[in-house]
Structure formats: structure tokens, C-alpha cells
């Protein structure tokens, strides 16, 4: 199978969906003529023209709200946020409009919308540009949240997200855009709400999403090599819907879990999952579920410190050793 980058996989998914459905269009800052601030939409404007790939002014509330309105009438906008951090200037449009209009209309209206862009720290762009809002948006019933960790998942999930009839918040990672994975050339879809065992193991479950999952995979190697601990690594892929069955299945097998996330800890995704595991698998657990999140401060600029602020292999290993 050919290896392609996470960026390229997204680009292919967008391209294929634009071709498949005339109602799909991309909109965002610099997505067209500039080819995307992170080049995810490279070549698409040239190929599909200005109707299908639209450069927008710096008016996130305006063009995200526009997209919600257009989706109400049956279009399928894919909105790029240059950073998910900028959702905070358009939060009301996403949460109150896309998030509630189906409900408040008793099902008369729906919003088949994808909002996508990178949501990560670790690139020294400071506190305002490094938010990871997956926990907050998944708090809102009506919205869906997806955080792919690999090129394969990014492509399959993006295609599903675009075809989904609800609003999907699709969170990518600038640090992954350049990384490559095997991706088949034939079309495939990955359903939302289905987690993926990225490494089988028997001694402990490492559970996470996005780039933290990759860190967990590296930690699993260290655990195997240095500590003779065989960790299972479960990639949530989708935060809402959430594959609780897969989580519980893994934990019932390993009886131990460490949750890994780049979210900040207070009410992070791992808080929800920890609470759920304890509630539903209390008697299966040989130890409390532990968490590894970003260090609990705004994202620091200073490059060496920001590396420490995100979950590190060392922190994951240390957490695992506390309970193994």
C-alpha cells in the first residue's frame, strides 16, 4: 500500500467528496488561491474553481454562520478554521446554531456541516493558538467530534464526516500533517463512533485520541522493551459518538488503564472516560484509571517547555508504572 501524508489523505478525501457531491464546497481563510495555510486544500481551487473552494475574509462568525445557514438549505459546507483556536470568535454560531437548530425545530432542519482544522499545541504559537476544544464541543449534544491520529483514519473519517447529516467538528493536528501512513488507493469509509485497537496488549490499556495516541504507542514500545509490560493501545478516533464498548472491552481484558490526551485536564476527554470506566467496569479494575493530560496551564511559548507541557512518553510510562 502506498504511504501518504496525513495532509495528503485529507486533501484526497476533500477532493473525492467535492467530485462526488455537487453540494460539497470548502470555505475558509486562504483555502483557495493560497492553497491553505497548512496546504491541506492544495490544488483544489485550481482544480474545482471558486464556487467549490472559497477564500473568506477573517470573519469566522460570519462565514461559519453562513455555512450553517447554507447547510440548513441542503448544501454541505466544509469549513476550514485556520486553527480550531479561532472557534472562540464564532462559538455561538457553532454551538447555538449548528448545535441546536435541529432540536429546536423538532427535526425540521438539520445542518450537514463539517468544521475542520488543526487543534493542537506543540508548535510554539502561544496560548491563544494552541487550544484543544474537543472536550467542550463534545459536551454539546447535537455536535459530533472526530480526532483522527493517522492518515488512514483522517481520510476515512473525513469522507464519512462530509456525508454525515449532522454537524461534525473535525480536529486535525499541524504536527501530523507531514507524517505518513499506509493508505489504500481504493475508496473506504470509517464510521464515526468506532474506536480502533492500534496495538494489542494484555497488561494495560492506553486509551487516547489524536497525536497523544501516537505518543501512547511510543510509550507502549518503551513499556514492552524496558518494563516487560504489554500495553494495548486504543485509539478513540471519534469523541462523540464514543465507542464505549471498545473501551470497556479493552479494560475488561487488561484490568488497568491510563488515559492519554493533549486536552487540559479539568473536564478533559479523559475525565469523561475515566468516570465512565470506573462506573461501568469498577469490579474489573485492578487499579484506578490514571490520566496523562497536558500540564495544566495555558500553552507556554518557550519551545523546550512546551515539549514538556504536552504528554510525553516519560510521563505516560511513569503513570503506567504507578499501577502495573
Amino acid at each position: 500500500m502506498p504511504e501518504i501524508s496525513y495532509r495528503h489523505a485529507l486533501n484526497a478525501a476533500l477532493s473525492e467528496e467535492i467530485e462526488r457531491d455537487e453540494n460539497v464546497f470548502l470555505i475558509g481563510e486562504e483555502v483557495a488561491e493560497y492553497n491553505g495555510a497548512y496546504k491541506v486544500t492544495e490544488g483544489l481551487w485550481k482544480k474545482y474553481g471558486g464556487k467549490r473552494v472559497v477564500d473568506a475574509p477573517i470573519s469566522e462568525a460570519g462565514f461559519l454562520g453562513l455555512s450553517v445557514g447554507a447547510s440548513m438549505m441542503g448544501l454541505r459546507p466544509v469549513v476550514e478554521l485556520m486553527f480550531w483556536s479561532f472557534i472562540y470568535v464564532a462559538y455561538d454560531q457553532l454551538v447555538n446554531n449548528a448545535g441546536t437548530v435541529r432540536y429546536m425545530s423538532g427535526g425540521l432542519v438539520n445542518c450537514p456541516l463539517v468544521v475542520r482544522g488543526p487543534a493542537n499545541g506543540g508548535t510554539n504559537v502561544g496560548a491563544t493558538h494552541s487550544h484543544t476544544p474537543e472536550n467542550m464541543l463534545a459536551n454539546m449534544p447535537g455536535l459530533k467530534v472526530v480526532c483522527p491520529a493517522t492518515a488512514y483514519d483522517a481520510k476515512g473519517l473525513m469522507k464519512t464526516a462530509i456525508r454525515d447529516n449532522d454537524t461534525v467538528c473535525f480536529m486535525e493536528n499541524t504536527l501530523l500533517y507531514g507524517e505518513s501512513w499506509e493508505v489504500p488507493e481504493a475508496e473506504y469509509l470509517i464510521p464515526l463512533g468506532v474506536a480502533d485497537v492500534k496495538r494489542e496488549g494484555a497488561d494495560i490499556s492506553l486509551i487516547g485520541h489524536g497525536r497523544a495516541l501516537l505518543t501512547a504507542l511510543q510509550a507502549a514500545e518503551v513499556l514492552a522493551e524496558k518494563h516487560n509490560i504489554n500495553a494495548e493501545v486504543l485509539d478513540l478516533r471519534s469523541i462523540r459518538p464514543l465507542d464505549e464498548e471498545a473501551i470497556l472491552k479493552s479494560v475488561r481484558k487488561t484490568h488497568r488503564a491510563v488515559l492519554v490526551e493533549e486536552n487540559r485536564p479539568f473536564c478533559g476527554v479523559a475525565a469523561q472516560i475515566s468516570s465512565m470506566i470506573h462506573e461501568k467496569a469498577f469490579d474489573d479494575l485492578d487499579a484506578p484509571v490514571l490520566r496523562v493530560s497536558s500540564l495544566d496551564a495555558p500553552a507556554i511559548y518557550s519551545p523546550p517547555l512546551e515539549k514538556l507541557q504536552l504528554p510525553t512518553i516519560e510521563r505516560i510510562v511513569a503513570r503506567v508504572l504507578e499501577i502495573c
Partner: protein, 357 residues
């Protein structure tokens, strides 16, 4: 407000010139229906039949009826929370509207949206939105979709005079002009946002609509007393949208008689009783339209009263309908959250969507 006589010169405008008597009487009935519906709703509200907010449109009926009356098949409407007038004007039934206020399953939104959140997409009516200014990008998007699909249509997006100071309104105006979107922003200027007069909430040059100039958008101001003027100026904007795909900002001067909402205990504190009285007696759009029709010989007083009675009967019947309807069952709480779950698609079946257990 400018002189009414002047406003009524718009009777000669193209869109008004060929109106049939039936149509003119229809407008009268539509306005009576809104007023009677709301009076009935207020009565039932005070008897505890509904909860939350009830923002009455009484005094502003000419705006919804006049603007909507010039729309065609591919023209759409979206508004804020003071939405009963627009809903009835686009042809929603009193029954489903009243039942929505009661929170009943027979309500237009199955009792899930309430007073501020009426919807009827099949009547080109896209809500009813509670967050001030929040509907303005949505209206833009609806119009964007019309253009995208190659339809010749437009969107009337209503907002209040207080809403103009929300950021999304400004962002929407820029986008509308930049991209030639056929959206018409109608500022229903009733002089107050809750207890705050226009002068205390907005700084402006000539008028609120003139802010459109900063975006190269055409704008106009209409006297909300006159159906003829409202229709003429809306028609002009609709034509601009249809023919040039250009937006318009249209400010319509009007007045609300009641409090901001029925629960507004201060309704006579931030404005004088005389001011309200003056509007009711001298500027009431129903009274004035009735006068026009009587003078034109389209209607006599008896016939007008009969229309009004008809509207009142309908409103009372709608309250009965609402009262006798059922509340939704508890299962309704988890319906209409996700399209895919409601339709039990593959996508709706993978993973957990709700997290109480």
C-alpha cells in the same frame, strides 16, 4: 415617522398599483390575525399556560405582513425571537404556533423550541432565533445557498435596532456585499432594545441603515405605518436581489406597544405612557391600513370588524387546540438531537451518542 400621506404615495408604486381588493383585504386580515393571535397568547400566558418568554409583535404587524407580501416562490425568511408575526405572515397556522407556545407535540417545533424558535422550512421560514444577531449569518447562508443552486431568490433577514451592534451583523454585511449575496437585512426599528432607547445603544451618522454604506451596500428607510411604502421599498430590494444579486439594508420605523416580553415589568418605565398612547392612536398600522381601505372604498367598517372577529375566533380556537393537545412524551428529549440517530442509519448506530448512563 414622516408624514403618512407621503408614505401612502407609494400606493402608486408598481408593486402596489395592481393590487386587487382581495389582496388588500388579505393584508388587513393578516394583520388582524397576528394581533389577535398574540393577544390570545398573552392572555393564556398570564394564566400560566406556557413558560419562558413571550415577545409580542403587537404594533409592528405591518412590517412582517408588508415585507413578506412581496415575496415569491424562492424567497425566504428568517428572523429573531420576536417571530410570531413573521410566522403567521409566511402562512404558518395559528394552531401549530399556539401549540408551540404551550410546549405541545402539535406545535410547529413539537414543543421543543417555544415562542422564540418557530420553524417552517416548507414555508421558506427558517426560524425564530433567540440569540440577538445570531440569525444574521444564517440568513446570509440561506441566500448563499440560493445563489449556489442557481435559483433566483432572496432572503429577508430581520433584526431589531438593538441587534445591529452585534459583531456577526457587521461580518455578514461585509460578506454579503463582497460576494454579491441576495440577502435583505431588515432592521425593525421599534426604538428600543428592551429598556434601552436607540440613542443609548447605537452611535450612528444618519440612521442605522446608513452603516451599510461602509460596505458599499444600498440602503433605505421606510415608514412602518404604511403597508404601501413597506411593500414598495421591500420590492425594490427584492428586485435588486433577484436581478443583480446584491444585498440591501432596509430600516423600517415601527413601534412595539407591549413590554419587551410579557414578563417585562418595566414596560412603562423607560418610555412614557403618552408615547405609547400616541403610537396606538396616531400610528397604529392596523388602524391606518383600515382607514386607507375605507377611503379607497375597498372595505367598510362593518366588513373590517367582521375580519377582525374572524381573526379573533381563529385565535381563540387555536388556544383551545393547544390546550387539548398532548405534551410530547419523555422520549422526545432524546429525539431530534442527531439526524442519523433519528433515522437509525448505520452512522446513527455506531458508538454512543448520549451520555447519561
Amino acid at each position: 415617522m414622516e408624514k403618512l400621506a407621503e408614505a401612502n404615495e407609494y400606493a402608486a408604486a408598481e408593486v402596489n398599483r395592481n393590487l386587487t381588493n382581495e389582496q388588500k383585504i388579505g393584508f388587513m386580515l393578516d394583520m388582524f390575525r397576528i394581533r389577535r393571535f398574540e393577544q390570545e397568547a398573552a392572555k393564556q400566558y398570564s394564566q400560566g399556560k406556557m413558560g419562558g418568554f413571550l415577545h409580542l409583535y403587537i404594533g409592528q404587524e405591518s412590517v412582517a405582513v408588508g415585507t413578506v407580501s412581496v415575496l415569491g416562490e424562492d424567497d425566504h425568511v428568517i428572523t429573531a425571537y420576536r417571530d410570531h408575526g413573521h410566522a403567521l405572515a409566511v402562512g404558518m397556522g395559528m394552531d401549530e404556533c399556539m401549540a408551540e407556545l404551550y410546549g405541545k407535540k402539535t406545535g410547529c417545533s413539537q414543543g421543543k423550541g417555544g415562542s422564540m424558535h418557530y420553524f417552517a422550512p416548507e414555508k421558506n421560514f427558517w426560524g425564530g432565533h433567540g440569540v440577538v444577531g445570531g440569525q444574521t449569518p444564517l440568513g446570509l447562508g440561506l441566500a448563499y445557498a440560493l445563489k449556489y443552486k442557481g435559483l433566483t431568490g432572496c432572503v429577508l433577514c430581520f433584526m431589531g435596532d438593538g441587534a445591529v451592534n452585534q459583531g456577526p451583523v457587521h461580518e455578514s454585511m461585509n460578506l454579503a456585499s463582497l460576494w454579491d449575496i441576495p440577502v435583505i437585512y431588515i432592521i425593525e426599528n421599534n426604538g428600543y432594545s428592551m429598556g434601552t432607547s436607540q440613542a443609548r445603544s447605537s452611535a450612528f451618522g444618519e440612521c442605522l441603515a446608513a452603516r451599510a454604506e461602509g460596505y458599499g451596500i444600498d440602503w433605505d428607510v421606510a415608514n412602518g405605518e404604511s403597508l404601501y411604502e413597506i411593500r414598495a421599498k421591500t420590492a425594490q430590494a427584492v428586485e435588486r436581489a433577484h436581478k443583480e444579486s446584491r444585498p440591501t439594508v432596509l430600516e423600517i420605523d415601527t413601534y412595539r406597544y407591549e413590554g419587551h416580553s410579557v414578563a417585562d415589568a418595566n414596560k412603562k418605565k423607560y418610555r412614557t405612557a403618552e408615547e405609547i398612547e400616541k403610537y396606538k392612536t396616531e400610528h397604529d398600522p392596523l388602524r391606518l391600513w383600515r382607514k386607507v381601505l375605507v377611503e379607497e372604498g375597498v372595505l367598510d367598517d362593518q366588513a373590517a370588524d367582521a375580519l377582525d372577529r374572524e381573526a379573533k375566533r381563529e385565535a381563540i380556537a387555536s388556544a383551545k387546540f393547544a390546550a387539548e393537545s398532548d405534551f410530547p412524551g419523555p422520549e422526545a428529549i432524546f429525539e431530534h438531537v442527531y439526524h442519523e440517530v433519528d433515522h437509525d442509519t448505520v452512522s446513527g448506530r455506531t458508538g454512543k451518542h448520549f451520555f447519561n448512563d
